[in-house]
Symmetry: C2
Subunit: 423 residues, 2 copies
Amino acid sequence: MAELSIKEIEETLLEMGEKAKIASYKLMAMNTDTKNDFLLEMAKVIEDSMDEIILENKKDLANGVANGLSEAMLDRLTLDKERIQAIADSVRDVIALEDPVAKNISTNIRPNGLQINKVSVPIGVIGIIYESRPNVTVDAAVLCLKAGNPVILRGGSEAINSNLILAKCLKRAGRNKGMPIGSVQLIPWSDRNAVSFMLKMDKYIDLIIPRGGEGLIRTVIEQSTIPVIKHYKGVCHLYVDSEADLNMAVEIAKNAKCQRPGVCNAIETLIIHKDIAKSAAPIIGETLAEEGVLLKGDSEFCKLFSDAIQTDENDWSEEYLNLTISIKIVDSIEEAIAHINQYGSGHSDAIVTNNAKRAELFLTTVDSSTVYHNASTRFTDGAEFGMGAEIGISTDKLHARGPMGLPELTTYKYVVNGTGQIR
Amino acid sequence: MAELSIKEIEETLLEMGEKAKIASYKLMAMNTDTKNDFLLEMAKVIEDSMDEIILENKKDLANGVANGLSEAMLDRLTLDKERIQAIADSVRDVIALEDPVAKNISTNIRPNGLQINKVSVPIGVIGIIYESRPNVTVDAAVLCLKAGNPVILRGGSEAINSNLILAKCLKRAGRNKGMPIGSVQLIPWSDRNAVSFMLKMDKYIDLIIPRGGEGLIRTVIEQSTIPVIKHYKGVCHLYVDSEADLNMAVEIAKNAKCQRPGVCNAIETLIIHKDIAKSAAPIIGETLAEEGVLLKGDSEFCKLFSDAIQTDENDWSEEYLNLTISIKIVDSIEEAIAHINQYGSGHSDAIVTNNAKRAELFLTTVDSSTVYHNASTRFTDGAEFGMGAEIGISTDKLHARGPMGLPELTTYKYVVNGTGQIR
């Protein structure tokens, strides 16, 4: 790719925005079959382009090795035939999902005869900024398109060649089937100024979804003049109440921490009521230690479980994403709730208790997208919720909260039919 | 009020934010009767404080005269006994509205037995930035409170004394009834830096609602790291199709432009299909001229109606808020729709036609909060929609679009009940 000046990049971005906006007016009127046709062709083109995709992916892998990416990161970056097939299959899964657009949400016939229908409609142009695996390029694009939204994608620089070839496949498929030009676009420059400029294009982009770590999220919310739905970290908690079933608490703690520690709905912090701590702390501590978990505790926990190391203040807001846990002993459920609301990320938090009143208090006043009574936080997930594919998990409160599926990629408008009514 | 340094203002704002956040955890668990008790006491205290309110309002009026405010602005600023009673009455209207919190939106029982309830909950702390009449201080606060949200208010400097006394009444009522401290707060400084700082307090404030003109809105969306729902201008359109009922078109044009030209749902631009222009342009032109409307037209319209003056490019995106209209003749409905999507503000737009297919095209592809077929745009209003009180009309697409009532002041959370489920 030839080097462009910032001015040229900005002009190209504006053109991309304008094209996407024009495409949005066409896509919003397209029926389900037409949109599914685009998607089916995309799955086919991806399947037909495996060799080409693997070739481009190898360039990213070579760059990754040269830049010293970790084994884990290289693995996440790798596309082989099986993974490419999985990407194509996931496109077919989206075809099978119900179209969320043009649903009548409510009808209200007013005394003057006006019929006010509240109808689901596409949001418009969606910008996705992501740092993760190249499959997001396809997954995010087809979900947006199925909901009638053109998409402008901006992936991580380490996957640029893989992202470019995948976006090319989507565009090729679109051309084959007459999809509006500008429905899928990928920003090809890793220049950070391109993102900053994109975030000011409120004339053309209706929603920004950033998926990534703290740095990316702060940049986006500080710079964006476009509404943002954050997909931020999960600092999730499990609170073991004094009236908990201890066996259940042990099983849930083990599952929520260990089953897949690198994901956002795994717990980072365990909170134990002091009245059950003497019995609970050693059992939970040993169970987790057997699973290879590094235990950090406040001074009370460390007294009860000598293998734990002392936490510091930073631990409470840390998303470890590995087999580390911080453990706190509290005097009351109120203290537990206050801790979660202060240090949590509003993602997923659970209580284990047999006391219905305390469960109710926890579920009502823990200010998170998903709150659990006697279940693992690991269920916060589009598939587990029965939504089908998800574009991510919103840690914001507005518009979409928690797992975000196709319906959350729409908004609504009021369609009013009259017979000449005036005020 | 003693002068504070910027540092002191910032510290005070942070304290206000923290107090509001703590109040939010208490308010979110309060039942309808408790919240209505607070509101009823507010209505009573306002009624009991009429003399005090009028005294403070007179200070603003005197300052307004000294600062050369227009008669219209002074009138908007004025509080007399009748208007104060109207404010108290509107509080009672909100008491009568249904509580939007703790509604079960959906229940989903998964194969593993998990019961996933999607439940409406308060949004959290809401910041309202407004430039308008002092009654907004009370109207906005009680709507937020009824939906369980603490509110931080920031009104215009010209109404500062009136806003302060009204906020004082609300706080006094709250104290009488044990409302959480920090549920209602007003920023008492007109310093612009206070707003800039408030807009970065994403740790404490969950939503900013700006109500005002272009300058205010741009400032907010450029500076805010908090989600924003804009209540922006209304550049609304009426499109008279070639197959329109001409009498209906004339009546709707007259109503939408003249019945109350200073509001956001009045039209600014009339678009006429060329095939009906020869008959429609003179009749509509004369009718509007008789009502005292200043007619600006493109060159085609000026040919058909010689009293019109030529529009320039700026007219098409202008919110006149008075008896001025811009008129355009188009070759096709597609040209009309493209014009509306380019120059409109996404508020309210109407088509008059007897052709069902064209109506459908217009309703589907005009990207506005409310679209009308054969009715006046003047109906975009909470009361007209049967919502009861509204906090305003959102020109944004996310979370709330169009008239924004109590339900739009809530979000949702997933409340999951289990029996020990793990993954």
